[in-house]
């Protein structure tokens, strides 16, 4: 085999400086959020972007103590919306990380919203991604959060290219594209009325590659799903659909074992892995440098409906 890829070889001065710059900007935004809001929360799904934001929060609010561990507690809880269709590895990772770090975790359960009747599924196996919004808004209301820190990036999708760093949501949690506030310099306008809230996106200016480079450089722990493993999948419409209890094989389809990794981890009904032998962040960086399929395109079944579907969901309060 080839010699193991070293992170230093993948990080020329250009990337190193750029990561420092992105880190500085993200930390600035995190401190701004904590300073400007009374009850912020950090959205933590166990996904790689939220893992990066979590590390940035440690750098913003904790001190690096002995053994390079960050001591202290974040000035906000972590919030996760559990669709009930999450990969078990991700939930296990989430709980382990929260325990290790000694942080507070608030979980909003979509199942609770279904029980309350605020979410009605048209069929039990339907994708729950769109419905997360309801559970999220209910959690915001219950805990009176006034700012949610998220790991969304402008390079992910066209509707997000115009997203602000501080994105205003009205009393219904809705995003109004035409009502967005201009953001000049770093003079953010985070003023809201009671009942409204703000979304804060510290890694807006990061690309997928930046995220992986940072994960490699900082040794950020991720759920095992992100790295190559063998999994039962079904080939469907150019995607690899993982075989789970909510995504069974259809009549006539074959199930095969393939070496795969996930590039995003979301609801099991709409998140697909890609074939890959990359077993760590450095190998993923090497792969990302050659990739020709964007993150959401390869892995999200629900975004395929139409290329404007993200904008519609955003208007409804989705991320």
């Amino acid at each position: 085999m080839n010699a193991p890829l070293m992170v230093d070889r993948l990080l020329p001065e250009l990337d190193r400086t750029h990561l420092d710059w992105l880190e500085e900007e993200a930390i600035f935004i995190l401190r701004e959020t904590v300073a400007a809001f009374e009850r912020p929360a950090l959205l933590f799904s166990g996904g790689k972007d939220s893992c990066v934001v979590l590390r940035l929060a440690e750098k913003a609010f904790k001190n690096k103590g002995v053994e390079a561990r960050y001591a202290g507690r974040l000035p906000f809880p972590l919030l996760h919306v559990d669709t009930g269709h999450n990969f078990p590895e991700v939930i296990e990772f989430r709980d382990r990380r929260v325990a290790e770090m000694g942080e507070r975790l608030v979980v909003g359960h979509l199942e609770d919203s279904i029980r309350r009747g605020t979410v009605r599924l048209s069929n039990p196996l339907e994708s729950r991604n769109g419905h997360q919004t309801v559970a999220l808004l209910e959690a915001i209301e219950e805990h009176r959060f006034d700012a949610l820190i998220g790991g969304a990036r402008r390079d992910e999708e066209k509707a997000r290219a115009k997203e602000r760093i501080f994105s205003h949501r009205d009393g219904f949690g809705q995003w109004q594209p035409k009502e967005q506030r201009p953001e000049l310099w770093t003079l953010f306008n985070a003023r809201i009325r009671p009942g409204e809230h703000m979304r804060a996106f510290p890694i807006s200016n990061w690309t997928e590659l930046d995220v992986w480079l940072y994960i490699a450089r900082e040794n950020i722990p991720l759920p095992s799903l992100y790295f190559a493993h063998e999994r039962q999948v079904i080939r469907r419409k150019g995607l690899l659909v993982p075989l789970t209890e909510v995504t069974p094989a259809l009549p006539g389809e074959t199930v095969e074992a393939v070496q795969v990794r996930f590039r995003t981890v979301g609801d099991m009904t709409c998140t697909c892995p890609v074939e890959s032998p990359a077993v760590n962040a450095v190998e993923i960086v090497a792969e990302t440098l050659q990739v020709t399929v964007s993150e959401r395109g390869a892995t999200r079944m629900d975004d395929r409906t139409s290329d404007a579907s993200m904008e519609r969901r955003k208007k409804e309060g989705y991320f």
Partner: protein, 460 residues
Amino acid sequence: MSSFASAAAPRQRGSTRVTDHRALRFLTAGSVDDGKSTLIGRLLFDSRAILADQIDTLEKRAAGVPRADGQPRFDLSLLTDGLEAEREQGITIDVAYRYFATRQRKFIIADAPGHEQYTRNMVTAAAGSDAAVVLVDITKLDTLAAPVKLLAQTRRHALLARLLRVPSIVFAINKLDAVDDPGHAYEAVRAALLEFAAHADIEVAGVIPVSALRGDNVTQPLDAPWYSGPSLLQLLERLPTTQERTAGDLLIPVQYVARDQGLSGAGAGEQPRIVWGRIAHGRVKAGDEVQLFPSRHMARVAEVRVAGERVAFAEAGQSTGLALDRHLDVSRGDWIATPGTVHETNRFAATLAWLDTEPAVVGRKYTVRHGNRWVQARIAAIDSRLDVHTLASIDAHELRVNEIGHVIMETQQPLPVEAYETNRVGGSLIIVDPASNRTSGALLVKAVDQVGAQDACGAG
């Protein structure tokens, strides 16, 4: 806007930074059919920032439209038309951010629509940019006239970039593929641009001929007898990024004050507080004497931190945490400075870009943000409005959306404002309408002592 470049400095003490490795933030200004979207699409496409599935979607949408060999089989401009609302209208209605990289540099494009009614988008995009690329559609000009008459929008875009002090202004003359004698046409337009720039006191970083449609001279240099300069991308790769000065007096707006949790468990009652802020200008190290504003208390810096770690010093552009040698009342919105260097005033002259559909009202109470402080303020007077095509002052007493004027501001508390010319942090403010919470205006402070500035020491 402050730069982040020095973020690496304390961790790499001893090394000298010779190359500018920071990402270049540049804005693109042009009108709907100038080919701006095509140019950006071309930069992304040729630098391979476009991924296969996006191309797939676009090819599907463009099915049936014939294209030349070797060219993308879709309209490049579709890459950047983001929202449904504007796809329907066929125009871009907001600032969109795009990312691409070459081996030499990372780039962030702030894509600002060039419509007259969208001056606010251009102001927003220009506020944080290191460079502006102003697109000139050569097919709209009479290149046989002597001298060539430039379009009003070209002048407006360049003047706005100049007003916001975007450090480098580049003209990209587009659609050279569509004129008969490109060499002559380019020279004629170039001469007109340079003459206009000289009059307007605009320093031109380059006048680059391109064909965004064909890809000529966008990433690869043009092979033509009449042009020997760089391609647009080659020029962008070597433009400087904005760096606020690191020498001289220190100024830090206090962003956030934190209890030091790292020392918890020591059993001591009083824990040192860390005062965080991004340095506007200057440099700070342990032992420095500093003064706090508005309290005017003096203190000495006991410790300097960056991102949770102790460092020897920090400088302009970096967010730093200071532990002070005594317990003082410090909060968000305060300023930390070299003693005796700050002059506060509650009345100053400024250029105001109005962004709200409700016109600016003289005498009305607004809220302004300067640094990290929010104070009440009012527009004491509107002196004049700027003709955005010429930057000439027109007598005016009101400002409407997308208009820019010269105003006198009065604030309820004195602020340590600086001229925007000398520092973007000390010299910029936003105006917020307290009724709607909308960001209604952007203020650029003019020379502070120009109009009735009073040192707050005397103003009591």
